[in-house]
Symmetry: C2
Subunit: 430 residues, 2 copies
């Protein structure tokens, strides 16, 4: 027989049913929180015109796009590719359907994306991203930035993770600051140094800044700036020490203040702070930016991030659609939490009852019993297999919470008892 | 500006949010029924090794496969393609993970598949299939065939469709019958004629059979056979009239009887009947086969189908995995039902409350109110937009059931009232 490799392709996650149930629960919880915040679900096609995807993708992303080749039957002549994120398809969707959408358009997309990255442990080529975005037409008040962050925060809390920290900044503060100290021409290099500062010793960041031929005073101020964090009052006070007038950062600070004040209404506000070290790599963001870390697991990196972008669909339309959004990279997060033993695996038995009829004479009664239990919301399997009873109990214990044996006595009297497959205890089934 | 076509590619379904909510509800209902029947969810990658997919695909399917080209970064050297159904990936999954699975393995896959078919109205290149399968190791009792049919039946009932008919047959009855009348050498041609019989006048089928140079008696018997339908007793009686001894069809009849008797325990058994006109095109099936039709909408064709296959993973392993499964082609079904006005669109407003704070002074109170409502299970949007109140009500009416205006009085007293956006009625919000 021809031997075919049956392992999934490299970079693809494939779970056994119990892990899949945990993954599905996490995905459901995120979706549920987004939904309760009023986000509407959409699904865009996985295959898009290549020109749509390439309109935004640059550099590495472009190299990582999966191209799809037309088949003999497909008559559409466009070059096609698999989407690499939800944002580009969302921009296309908004441009295409803007007349039929209600703005601000609060939208969620929870689905798979594809990137042909170099294969590496914990990096996936096919991965779920759980996005929520709010898109305005022409303008979008800053309060929505707080809404996205609050929603992402509540979604992540359903994971029961150890202490997390959502760190918020605003791009306008950084650019205003760099322009105030006369360093705006080196903005890209400085941003990159700040973005990496957390992963290297302080002296490495300082040296890197010095190599940009900045003055000592400029370097000192940037080194102070990047370590500013806290609540809004603290942050403004610290910033005033290095920038007495604040004129150039006023707009950014006002936005930060508005976001922080709204989030202050949350009872669990201690998870959230302003932190000027947060940059977000993409050029894309124009105002609010945020990242999320687990306090005792910084090595994981950011588990969720997002921010404000001034013009979502500029590649597709003259209309202006400012937006703010956030994303949880679920496939990678699941993999890492699983490795670290941080996943709540308490509810892995997805089936409530396995009913075991002793002969085909009891099938009708068993099926009726199963239907009644299902109507009461229970998940019920019937074991029709022709094996020994002991084997059936073994099977049931692997997938279910209770087993119910149904022989002629039970079918006649209707009196059933359920065996708890963890404790061995038997109780009457009402 | 460069003009990019923002419509989705031909053959891809893309829904507006309200239709998406209906689609998602149908998908959820199917998944929920499968889950309550004890099926475990899995997700296999959308991208597979081409050799895995081609191992089973033949003819048209092979021409319709979407090939994926490796990107600059991806180092995996295998040829890759997008899966065209759930069955081939399931076969690979079972072969790969058999030591970690609990048999009978009751599994559901609800996800998108891809076929580059010729574009045509109502035909999709990217489409959801909602599969449930039961896989045995070495053997699988016939009772599971009834379970799959019962489960698919209950899943379809959640659609609130007009009267449906599940028509069941068994391949072994057909082959036993053809061998009894000495026509087994023309089995493929005869099957195809029976398969098409419903769409053409009776004389067309008769002529087609005559052209196979069968005897008049053979043609008469086949013409009688293909119109046999009813409950098991009726069907056996009618078959006995043209085949007095039944020896060659005994195994198939016994299987049909077992399936029918188990389904008889269902209270809604009138939806189900045996019908020898059901063939199912794929060579693939070896025993039970079924299709589902809407009685007054036969033009739609079968809305769900499936059957028994003797050896799921024969291309991947020497082990024998008999299985039985069924599938609902949700994307196409949704499209057709939508066109025919058969979709239940009563619950299209996905959001319960839109809260409208009159100024930023009420933000904190509004956010707390929203959080309380969310904790009570409601979906809640907050309108932070800077528009006139009338515009905010218009927006709310498009997406939600109720609007709640929050000014300084409401924030101070905590007394809120909700306006029903359909009736205009205002009631206190507890």
């Amino acid at each position: 027989m021809k031997k075919i490799n049956t392992s999934p392709l490299s970079g693809m996650q494939e779970l056994l049913p119990n892990d899949q149930a945990i993954f599905d629960r996490l995905k459901h919880n995120i979706s549920d929180v987004y939904h309760h915040y009023g986000f509407l679900n959409i699904e865009t096609p996985i295959i898009e015109r290549a020109e749509v995807l390439l309109a935004k993708a640059g550099g590495d992303t472009e190299k990582q796009i999966y191209m799809v080749s037309k088949t003999a039957e497909a008559s559409d002549s466009a070059d096609q590719a698999l989407r690499f994120d939800h944002t580009v398809p969302l921009a296309r969707y908004v441009a295409e359907h803007s007349n039929d959408l209600v703005f601000p358009f609060q939208v969620t997309q929870i689905n798979r994306n594809f990137r042909g990255e170099r294969a590496q442990r914990g990096r996936f080529r096919e991965f779920y991203q759980c996005d929520c975005d709010i898109i305005g037409r022409d303008k979008l008040p800053i309060a929505y930035d707080a809404k996205v962050i609050a929603c992402i925060h509540d979604a992540l809390k359903t994971f029961n993770l150890p202490e997390m920290k959502i760190r918020i900044s605003n791009r306008k503060v950084l650019s205003g600051f760099l322009s105030a100290i006369g360093a705006e021409s080196k903005s890209a290099e400085i941003s990159s140094i700040i973005d990496h500062a957390e992963k290297v010793p302080v002296e490495v960041s300082r040296n890197a800044l010095t190599e940009l031929s900045l003055s000592d005073e400029q370097v000192d101020k940037i080194m102070t700036f990047m370590f500013i964090k806290g609540d809004y009052v603290e942050v403004e006070a610290k910033l005033t020490e290095i920038l007495p007038y604040l004129t150039t950062v006023r707009e950014g600070l006002d936005e930060l203040k508005a976001v922080f004040n709204i989030l202050n209404a949350k009872p669990d506000m201690s998870d959230i702070e302003i932190d000027f070290m947060i940059i977000r790599g993409l050029d894309y963001y124009t105002g609010t930016v945020f990242e999320t870390f687990l306090k005792d697991h910084r090595d994981i990196g950011s588990i969720s991030s997002g921010g404000r972008y001034d013009n979502l669909a500029s590649n597709f339309t003259e209309q202006k659609f400012p937006g703010v959004g956030g994303s949880i990279g679920l496939t990678r997060l699941f993999f890492i939490l699983n490795e670290k033993g941080l996943l709540d695996k308490t509810t892995v038995q997805p089936i409530d009852y396995v009913l075991i009829p002793l002969s085909s004479d009891e099938y009708a009664f068993t099926i009726n019993t199963a239907n009644k239990l299902r109507q009461n919301g229970y998940t019920v399997d019937i074991d029709f297999d022709e094996r020994k009873l002991g084997n059936k109990f073994n099977r049931a214990a692997k997938i279910a919470k209770y087993a119910v044996v149904i022989g002629s006595d039970e079918a006649t009297t209707g009196k059933l008892s359920a065996k708890n497959l963890q404790t061995g205890e038997t109780t009457p089934l009402e």
